[in-house]
């Protein structure tokens, strides 16, 4: 039996009310709120979060591959899956691939993972979907879109939801696209996009999935389909004979927004969070055609320990008060520059130190037990040379030892940097910026956890490193 063995999700802390966006333009509001990735987040950092959430108690050394899917990878040329696999501390021989350029990228990655397990190429594949799409300012899509990430582990051991049917349909259509030099998503005429694109294609793929699995709409516990707007998924479900109230998985458009290639997976995670053994889930995704899967929930779902998932991340949020900040966070509006950097970033040094920078490894002295970050070749306590073992800290927690709210260090759209010295339980000390926090509420002793973020663009590449944040409520951050 092949299927999903674990799942995880990530929704950024910030939510922007659609009324606030509407007010900025003097136009109508689509109501509700959307998630907004912080200025230090991108699809890669969100993928690391969702991936970590999915890994929970999973042995990272047993992961044979990582497939990363997005329409907005941080690099146009350079592998994101490989970077994520490094940060998540997977084996060097884990297979890595990026799936891109379509809202179906996530389900394409899922199909590849299923095929990988089926073919015996590997036993466990992590599929991480993440998106942060840019819509033209003032457009409906600007309000509708959200930022988020979701991940599933695909394997054959302890399957919580088996894949019973998997089909794919290709359909060439120019309805939603971005040219190679476009920043914002383009969309064709509304009725064409919805009727000939989404409705027609999804109707066909779902019908075929039902036929192939010899099921009727009534056999499906949850229909998991992303919606391009507030109406279409409901209309589609009705047309296919589903009972919207009991069978259609909530769209998350109200509270998060449409998270692009990650959206089908955020909905799937939501469905799995509520699922019981024996449930049947039909998941479909749309984008230049459609993919559909029928999943059967097993007894194993009851033994799976929950991460934060969609539910936990939905509960944990912070209002972004200004529309302009969203524009500035995405680089659409250029706020006054902050202080330029004085240090010399180096791709070679970044590469050399990736065990500490990316994997968050510290060293533990084999002689005296002293733990320290970053890795120290000579123990700071007993001076033993090169006698250490590596300790991964990314999944651990700690407490603020001391901090300051630095008004000089930040970006002009986010001027206060909470510089934090925090201590983990084993006494290692970290000097990190705190993110996703209310600076005025930071105190000595505040429990914090690690979060992987984009620090700046030194030496013309994305310098990622760890920050800390107050523990997000809604479940523990599992390693």
């Amino acid at each position: 039996m092949i299927g999903i063995t674990s799942f995880g999700a990530y929704i950024p802390m910030y939510r922007l009310s659609r009324d606030t966006i509407a007010k900025a333009w003097g136009r109508g509001s689509l109501k509700g709120e959307r998630s907004v990735a912080n200025n230090d987040e991108d699809t890669l950092t969100m993928a690391v979060e969702a991936g970590s959430d999915c890994l929970k108690d999973f042995d990272r050394q047993k992961v044979d591959g990582l497939f990363f899917a997005t329409t907005n990878a941080p690099y146009k040329e350079k592998l994101s899956a490989g970077l994520a696999a490094t940060v998540l501390d997977f084996r060097e021989n884990a297979a890595t691939a990026d799936f891109a350029n379509s809202l179906r990228a996530g389900t394409a990655a899922l199909r590849a993972a299923i095929d990988g397990v089926k073919a015996g190429s590997g036993e466990n594949y992590l599929v991480v979907t993440s998106d942060c799409r840019l819509a033209s300012p003032r457009s409906d899509q600007e309000q509708l879109f959200g930022d988020g990430s979701a991940a599933v582990m695909v394997g054959a051991d302890k399957v919580i939801a088996s894949i019973e049917t998997s089909i794919s349909m290709n359909k060439e259509i120019v309805d939603v696209w971005r040219n190679d030099d476009d920043r914002f998503v383009r969309m064709g005429e509304g009725r064409f996009v919805v009727n000939e694109g989404y409705m027609a294609t999804m109707k066909e793929v779902i019908s075929r999935a039902l036929i192939q699995s010899k099921m009727e709409a009534s056999h499906i516990t949850k229909l998991v389909i992303p919606s391009p707007d507030f109406r279409s998924s409901t209309a589609l479900a009705k047309k296919l004979g589903f009972d919207v109230a009991s069978q259609l998985q909530g769209s998350l458009l109200d509270s998060v927004g449409h998270c692009g290639a990650a959206h089908p997976f955020l909905l799937l995670v939501s469905a799995l969070e509520e699922a019981k053994p024996g449930d049947t889930i039909l998941m479909a995704s749309y984008g230049d055609g459609a993919d559909a899967f029928v999943l059967k929930v097993t007894e194993e779902i009851e033994t799976l320990k929950g991460g934060r998932g969609v539910k936990g991340h939905l509960e944990s949020k912070k209002a972004l008060s200004y529309y302009d900040k969203m524009l500035s966070f995405r680089g659409i509006l250029e706020a006054a520059g902050g202080e330029p950097f004085r240090l010399f970033p180096s791709a070679a040094a970044y590469w050399r130190d990736q065990d500490s920078i990316l994997k968050c490894y510290g060293s533990k002295c084999k002689e005296c037990g002293r733990t320290q970050f970053p890795i120290q070749r000579i123990c700071s306590e007993c001076r033993s040379k090169d006698a250490y073992e590596l300790v991964r800290y990314s999944h651990k927690q700690g407490k603020v030892f001391t901090f300051t709210r630095d008004q000089l260090a930040g970006r002009s759209d986010d001027p206060v940097v909470v510089q934090t010295v925090f201590e983990t339980e084993d006494g290692a000390r970290f000097y990190l910026m705190m993110t996703d926090c209310d600076p005025e509420k930071v105190k000595v002793g505040l429990p914090v956890e690690f979060t992987f973020r984009r620090i700046y663009e030194g030496a013309n590449f994305h310098n990622y490193f760890w920050k800390c944040r107050p523990l997000r409520n809604g479940g523990a951050n599992h390693g």
Partner: protein, 395 residues
């Protein structure tokens, strides 16, 4: 370890006006301090056998010893640059003293200079650390703010109480600076003004932070036995201490952020050389590294001026005021002079030198009955401390 006590003497010093010297380059500042020192010692550039320079910012302020050689036309002699953060000036002075004490040279020069206002930004900038990733956003106020948070937490002080204690240090230094013609800031401030000032790096406000300025200071050093050939009132070096902590405090396990090994060790070394057993009683004045008001408080305790955790009592009683038992930063300190990094250690020593000669530039600032003076800088994350102890007579 041996001692430098009474082996070398300072026979001339100079100090430029500190401030935003837009019209003056690093070389102009060097000329200002060096020629005052030459005149004070009765020597000329041709008499200098070797030179040590404290300078931090490259390349905007010049590289190697070039600023000094090119400007002063010091030809065919060693010019050795020291870049040890905020202690660069002190360490240049100590290196020069050691060179004379070794017997290799008879007359040498130590000079510090920094032209911060040519860097194009206020403050020392962001990314003040050593690693472009781990410390990408570190600033100087941000690092010292960590000390204040920890100190307030350890001693159960509210933000208000804590800020008031360190605020009094800023008020004191401004009062002294108002009587200091070469200082950048010469205004007095009230505690109320300190408390209401904008926050720079919580809990440090604007007046808890020293200014950013241009300046230079210079010393001419010779063997103690030759000193009286130059002047009647040479100032003798009694001791020094330099201490560097291992591991950035930010990531040092167990570090408590209220007391610093470098401060304790550097002062202990200097006291031992100088034969000082009770610093609180035996030192008559001190110039210490008040880059931030909290730093001066930590120094009081680590240098043994105040008992551990009780600097507050001495601050409240006025012990460190000009008229107090141990005047600290009688010229206004970094608070009023600003901190042109490589120049500060020598500028502080200039104040000690003048006070010990009873030649303070304004008589109302002259401290009576002085024998032992201490100057000190504290630099880096902070991680490095340098101290000099001086006296106006041998023995």
């Amino acid at each position: 370890m041996g001692s430098i006590k009474d082996k070398i003497a300072i026979v001339g010093m100079g100090c430029s006006k500190f401030g935003e010297r837009w019209g003056m380059g690093a070389g102009d500042l060097v000329i200002e301090s060096a020629y005052e020192a030459f005149e004070d010692a009765g020597v000329g550039p041709e008499d200098i056998e070797a030179c040590w320079v404290g300078q931090m910012y490259a390349p905007v302020n010049g590289l190697g010893g070039s600023t000094i050689a090119d400007t002063l036309k010091l030809r065919n002699i060693p010019i050795i640059r020291n870049e040890n953060w905020c202690t660069a000036g002190h360490i240049a002075l100590i290196e020069a003293a050691l060179a004379v004490a070794s017997g290799v040279y008879d007359v040498v020069m130590a000079i510090g200079v920094e032209k911060l206002k040519d860097t194009g930004y206020p403050g020392l900038g962001t990314g003040r650390g050593m690693n472009p990733v781990y410390e990408a956003r570190r600033t100087a106020p941000g690092s010292f703010g960590l000390i204040a948070t920890s100190y307030f937490e350890k001693y159960g002080l509210s933000m208000e109480e804590g800020k008031e204690i360190i605020g009094k240090i800023a008020v004191k230094n401004h009062r002294n600076g108002s009587m200091s013609p070469k200082a950048h800031f010469r205004n007095t401030i009230t505690l109320e003004k300190v408390m209401n000032a904008p926050i720079i790096a919580y809990p440090l406000g604007l007046f808890d932070c020293c200014g950013n300025s241009d300046g230079s200071a210079c010393a001419i050093i010779t063997r103690a036995d030759m000193a009286k050939n130059f002047r009647e009132d040479p100032i003798y070096m009694k001791g020094f201490g330099i201490s560097m902590d291992a591991v950035l405090p930010h990531t040092r396990p167990g570090f408590d952020w209220t007391s610093f090994e470098a401060l304790k060790n550097s002062s202990r070394q200097a006291y031992e050389m100088a034969g000082i057993k009770k610093p609180r009683e035996e030192i008559d004045l001190a110039e210490v590294h008040d880059c931030f008001s909290i730093t001066e408080l930590a120094i009081y305790e680590d240098f043994g001026f105040s008992s551990r955790g009780r600097a507050r009592e001495d601050i409240d009683s006025g012990f460190f005021e000009l008229e107090g038992g141990l005047p600290v930063n009688s010229d206004g300190g970094l608070k009023c002079f600003g901190h042109p990094v490589g120049a500060s250690g020598l500028r502080m020593t200039y104040e000690i030198y003048k006070q010990l000669q009873y030649k303070a530039d304004l008589p109302e600032r002259q401290i009576k009955n002085v024998h032992r003076g201490l100057s000190h800088t504290f630099g880096g994350p902070p991680q490095l401390s340098a101290v000099g102890v001086f006296g106006n007579e041998k023995g």
